[in-house]
């Protein structure tokens, strides 16, 4: 059945796509089996790689006629299984649509196809003194289309915003093959803000085929302070003091002791391996502004109990301070055969309590955890170390991850700050949202895609799925955390 559908479909697609733009051989399909969350794998019916918007529209119309699911795929770096294929569906890869269509120096904007890599955008406009601000750690690989679908953030998003804040226009192909332009270049949206709704919608409301991004002038000057703490909570509180002191750093990142040790042995950034936590705080702007802020921040850090602060003396040292943080994931990866990255957000004030509880859970589950933290915006990335070869290790790791996410909800936070729900956090969506709220999400998706062909099964759990999840997590007839205020 699958084989005949596959052959027939491939034939249809090849009437307008080049032969090699339709991938239907199982050996080649293996490359698309998973995204960055490799524990989940599925071979798709086939993969298509269109080069133009018209081709995307034709593909969608063919699939819509036959009710064939479509999973859009950018670079496949999603950490939540958002780009996981559907067994009876196609993967629509945007990787061949990766051109820059227009650079408008005057308007400080760039029009791109969705498959372009995030970093390639900044590289293309560097000679104009401009850059694209959202900088996910995966920026050398991830695509702008994927960034839009996940509303990706980066270390600089505290000051410069998430993808949402830096996108002026998105063109989508809907589930019926229609092309819609959601444009806010004029800064005034009239009618519903569909642009905001589509950003972060995990490929379920349409296929992003063109994007206009806002570019910013490269700051004149950037300086970094590294602060050392003997206590994690003090480090967390210092972040609150800096921000409530009226300073919005360009980036402010925190690492706990296990993360510091891992990073230091990997890149030798000069991190103090005995400290409980370090903060890396970057300030940028005009020379005059940065000068005045540096001294304030240094004072606040010391007043908050930093045992040492170091100001990077030049750009080389600034990059060195950052290098450990940027390499944190691979560094932790060296400590253990596998690691699992969690992505919860909490109000900053809950940091101490949450970290204490994470450490307790780490002991309970007998799994090591290293924490890196986008401290400015409360986005926590605990990295759970495990060995996939051990029987049941991944299941145990996932269970621990789920406990951490529910802990985030409990403290007034959320189960995902930037990686998306995908397939990974469907269960926790049942905790964060009520039946009625989830029903509303389904209704929104139906408003765009009544036959449910765009990335079905992701991001919003079905009632049945939640019944199952809750049955597994109900203790003594009570829902986990019934006291939660789910705002």
């Amino acid at each position: 059945m699958i084989t005949s559908t596959r052959q027939q479909l491939a034939g249809l697609f090849r009437t307008f796509l080049e032969y090699e733009s339709v991938v239907d051989q199982s050996t080649s399909l293996a490359a698309y089996e998973c995204d960055g969350l490799s524990a989940y794998r599925q071979t798709p019916l086939m993969v298509v790689l269109p080069k133009t918007i018209e081709e995307v529209q034709k593909i969608v119309i063919i699939c819509a006629d036959r009710n064939i699911p479509i999973v859009s795929r950018g670079a496949g770096t999603s950490l939540s299984g958002g780009a996981l294929p559907h067994a009876e569906g196609i993967v629509l890869s945007l990787s061949k649509m990766n051109r820059i269509l227009n650079i408008d120096d005057n308007a400080q904007s760039i029009t791109v196809e969705p498959g372009i890599r995030n970093l390639a955008v900044s590289e293309a406009v560097k000679h104009l003194g401009l850059y694209y601000a959202p900088d996910p750690s995966s920026q050398i690989a991830c695509s702008i289309g994927g960034n839009v679908a996940e509303n990706a953030g980066g270390v600089h998003c505290l000051k410069y915003g998430l993808t949402l804040h830096n996108v002026l226009s998105v063109t989508i192909v809907t589930a019926s093959g229609e092309l819609l332009v959601l444009d806010q270049q004029s800064l005034q949206s009239q009618g519903y803000d569909l642009l905001a709704l589509v950003i972060g919608s995990e490929g379920m409301l349409g296929i992003v085929v063109e994007v206009i991004l806002k570019l910013l002038p490269i700051p004149q000057c950037a300086r970094v302070i590294l602060a050392v703490f003997d206590d994690v909570e003090k480090a967390g509180n210092s972040v609150a003091s800096i921000i409530s002191g009226g300073i919005i750093p360009a980036g402010i990142e925190m690492m706990d002791n296990p993360a510091i040790r891992a990073a230091e042995s990997f890149v030798n950034a000069g991190y103090p391996i005995d400290s409980a936590a370090i903060l890396i705080c970057e300030l940028d702007g005009t020379e005059a502004e940065v000068e005045s802020q540096i001294s304030k921040v240094d004072r606040i850090l010391k007043d908050s109990g930093a045992i040492d602060t170091r100001l990077a003396k030049d750009d080389a040292e600034r990059h060195l301070f950052w290098s450990g943080r940027k390499a944190a994931f691979p560094a932790v990866g060296r400590l253990s055969p596998d690691y699992y990255c969690i992505d919860g957000t909490i109000p900053r004030k809950a940091l101490g309590a949450v970290l204490t509880e994470i450490n307790r859970l780490s002991e309970e589950y007998e799994l090591r955890i290293a924490n890196v933290f986008h401290a400015g915006d409360g986005n926590l990335h605990p990295l759970i170390l495990y060995d996939a070869n051990d029987e049941g290790a991944f299941a145990k790791t996932e269970a621990l991850g789920s406990r951490i996410l529910q802990l985030c909800i409990h403290h007034g936070g959320t189960i995902t700050g930037e990686h998306g729900v995908g397939v990974e956090k469907l269960g926790e969506m049942c905790v964060q949202f009520s039946d009625i709220e989830r029903h509303q999400f389904h209704a929104i998706r139906s408003a765009f895609d009544p036959t449910n062909i765009m990335n079905p099964g992701k991001a919003i759990p079905t009632l049945a799925r939640c019944a199952e999840f809750n049955a597994m997590h109900v203790h003594n007839g009570e829902l986990p955390h019934p006291e939660l205020d789910r705002f």
């Binding site: 005034q188 009239q190 109000p347 964060q432 509303q440 705002f487």
Partner: protein
């Protein structure tokens, strides 16, 4: 940290159950309702003739910890009180919303989506809203988004509420990111004989990281406001020059509240929104230009609205028949059919019986 409300006293009154039972009653028989807050922005959108449900009594701070830079409040809170409360803690709303009257409420601000002079430089309400508690058309209370800055769980319903003019539900509570107040502010003025010179100039200046927080061009003069640290402002002023430096210029509050003489009551004013750099659309009619060129107020008689809309559309913009037109003028720019169809689908997903503010935004919605 506990909520400390000192001089500003914001009434704590929870009318949630009351509002819910009112909606349950009307949704059962499909009675249309008109949602109001402080009634200061009723001009913005078509007249709704329906049973009035007033939310302004539903008031109070749910959570405000200045160190988190987030405030959660009931929708009936008065904007002026909230601004005072934030100011006490050295903070403010980043989008400079217009009050248009003492009674303006937070719910009304979010629903109308109107932003002030700071828009082009630090963002609109959609850039700051984090979460909403909503009463939908079935009388159900639902929460979306949250109280944290980064949150991608579920579709972004909170931002969808901004500018929806109450057509999707009654806002009960909103969480908003706030920003620290600037250390200093000043205004510089420049002579720019025509609109094009202004637009070219301001967009060229935006290529540099000057702390510009507002701009306006009117009658041959450009004014810009700078906001930031003392030192930052000092060096920016040195660099930018200008023929006049004015501290505490009230131009900005007059533009925000539209008490500036240009907004005289008898005028028919169209709000033209185009990409800021657009210089191929510069009509001869009297105009005032804000937002680095993106917001242009143009005196336009009613009979010319249709033509203006066609022209502006070809420049990737929209026209709002903002002030001084009669009930026959369509206020908001009609989107394409495909987008309008999505509006209808979304509307019925929140409000299946179509009871909330029918026709306020577009006829039939």
């Amino acid at each position: 940290m506990a909520i400390q409300i000192q001089e500003v006293s914001i009434p704590q009154v929870n009318l949630e159950e009351d509002l819910q039972s009112q909606i349950e009653a009307v949704s059962a028989n499909g009675t249309p309702v008109k949602i109001t807050g402080g009634n200061t922005k009723s001009f913005y959108g078509h007249v709704v003739n329906a049973l009035e449900i007033n939310v302004s009594g539903h008031s109070g701070i749910i959570d405000y910890d200045p160190a988190e830079l987030v405030i959660t409040l009931r929708a009936g809170c008065k904007l002026k009180d909230v601004e005072l409360l934030l100011a006490e803690k050295g903070q403010m709303l980043g989008f400079e919303p217009p009050c248009f009257g003492e009674e303006a409420t937070i719910g009304g601000i979010v629903a109308s989506g109107l932003t002030g002079p700071r828009r082009a430089f630090s963002g609109a309400i959609r850039d700051f809203i984090l979460g909403v508690k909503l009463l939908n058309g079935r009388g159900e209370i639902v929460n979306f988004g949250g109280r944290v800055i980064k949150n991608v769980a579920g579709f972004d319903v909170s931002r969808l509420m901004v500018g929806a003019l109450g057509t999707l539900g009654i806002l009960l509570e909103v969480s908003i990111r706030v920003i620290p107040k600037f250390e200093a502010e000043t205004t510089l003025s420049f002579e720019h004989a025509d609109a094009q010179t202004h637009i070219d100039w301001i967009n060229q200046k935006r290529r540099f990281p000057y702390p510009i927080s507002a701009s306006v061009w009117y009658q041959g003069r450009t004014k810009i406001r700078l906001s930031g640290s003392q030192q930052g402002l000092y060096s920016a002023c040195e660099d930018l020059g200008g023929d006049n430096k004015i501290d505490n210029d009230d131009t900005w509050s007059k533009l925000k509240e539209q008490t500036h003489p240009f907004f005289g009551p008898v005028k028919s004013l169209a709000r033209v929104s185009v990409p800021s750099v657009e210089v191929n659309f510069l009509p001869a009619e009297p105009q005032l230009i804000e937002w680095g060129g993106a917001q242009r107020w143009i005196e336009t008689p009613q009979e010319n609205l249709g033509q203006l809309r066609q022209q502006v559309e070809s420049h990737r913009g929209t026209v709002c028949a903002y002030q001084g037109y009669d009930g026959h003028a369509e206020i908001f720019h009609r989107p394409t059919d495909g987008i309008l169809a999505l509006h209808r689908n979304l509307k019925s997903s929140f409000d299946p019986a179509g009871i909330f503010n029918p026709g306020r935004m577009y006829a039939g919605l």
